[in-house]
Symmetry: C2
Subunit: 230 residues, 2 copies
DNA sequence: ACCTGAACACCGTTCAAGT
DNA sequence: ACCTGAACACCGTTCAAGT
């Protein structure tokens, strides 16, 4: 009996869940740009067209992958402090995104929100409302948070992969961009406990998150409404 | 003389600038996902390989397109009020992104910052420093702003294209996502001057922007440093 | 009725043949 | 030396032929 035949004999029948889980694992391993229907089929030991039984097309596959990652986010903790509940959940979402580096890009590329994302956003809106924010304020707060609600860093570039973080600063670059050079050197002096060239991504994320949450709480306390400007 | 020959006779020689400008115009017209080297070459009436004389590969083409859009952003206005200078420039960047709907996605997909982006960020850092923010605070402020510095809305989905904005609310969806339904209905009552189902993207953008800028100003006034938490 | 291999209409890019 | 058409190694997806 050849290896091929043995594999065929003990093959578990495909289903949507197995397809999606395999896609997530494969994207983690080889990157989202290398994930193709053909490559995924090969990994599952089936002919490419077999995937189309469980997924209408590649877009639907990506939808399912996005929902799988969002499904990894912790449910909201019970507690009286809405800022704490929101903060903890967003940090959980951030950890999910860090486990799957392709996920942020895939979620963002969906043309509309998937069911799991809608459920997540609905739950988040409920936490704000339960914390005493008006429907009006909650609406604008949700928009202001945007993708940060799902743990997106919203940075322009991945600083850990940046050239600035590897080795000593380039004098030519420092001359061309003096203010950026100043910020980079300031960060490097910043205690020295940071692993890369000086940017602690977790600190930057929490800095922005807390600034926003504190801003929201101030508006709530002041009874802000959209008829007045912030 | 055929049309083909006439076109060939009066052909302007290609150069990098003409290639990039044509790519921007073409992406505006047919969308970034339809922009291929082959399609661009056809538009310029040259053989596909001719493009590779002026651009190393497609990634470099996209780099150039990103820089072309960033180059459309107004230079910083002179003025004593740093919040005003930053605000006006970011709103100019936002208008540039709205003129080229593909640009945000392309800029985000660059693996590192392009020269025009570096120059822009350097200039922005200079405005913060000139406004009296410490190098330490400026560093964290730049991270907290992230892609918003370049006018990115940072929303999860384009609300104007959302199904929620077209027609009356779906009762089934409202039952599944009650808090989201509440926010949508609140927005719809919100004066009634908004063009779509209730979300004024410009208002939401400025709300978040001003919240952040005001937060930064408060930290500056308080003499915040990263050794203390916000 | 079901499955699936070949085919279609594309990609970005390499490369060698032609001028 | 330069230009360029054909070719390569891929895509996602259609479709018809085979069982």
């Amino acid at each position: 009996m050849t290896r091929q035949e043995a594999t065929h004999a003990q093959r578990i029948p495909l289903n949507r869940d197995r397809v999606l889980r395999a896609a997530v694992v494969l994207a983690d391993a080889i990157g989202i740009e290398a994930l193709s229907m053909r490559r995924l089929a090969q990994e599952l030991d089936v002919v490419p067209m077999a995937l189309y039984k469980h997924v209408a097309n590649k877009e639907e596959l990506l939808d399912g992958m996005a929902d799988a990652v969002v499904g990894e986010v912790d449910p909201p903790a019970a507690g009286p402090d809405w800022q704490r509940v929101v903060r903890d959940r967003i940090l959980s979402a951030r950890r999910a995104l860090l486990r799957h580096p392709w996920a942020a890009r895939v979620i963002e590329s969906r043309t509309g929100p998937t069911p799991a994302v809608l459920a997540y956003l609905d739950s988040m809106a409920g936490t704000f409302r339960g914390g005493g924010l008006s429907a009006d304020l909650t609406h604008h707060v949700m928009h202001a948070m945007g993708s940060r609600l799902l743990g997106f860093s919203q940075e322009l570039f991945d600083t850990s992969a940046s050239a600035a973080s590897a080795g000593p600063p380039d004098p030519a670059l420092a001359a061309a961009y003096p203010h950026i050079a100043e910020l980079a050197s300031t960060a490097a002096h910043d205690g020295g406990t940071t692993p890369n060239g000086g940017c602690d991504d977790q600190f930057e994320f929490e800095f922005a998150l807390d600034l926003l949450l504190n801003g929201f709480e101030t508006l709530r306390r002041e009874g802000w409404t959209s008829t007045r400007t912030p």
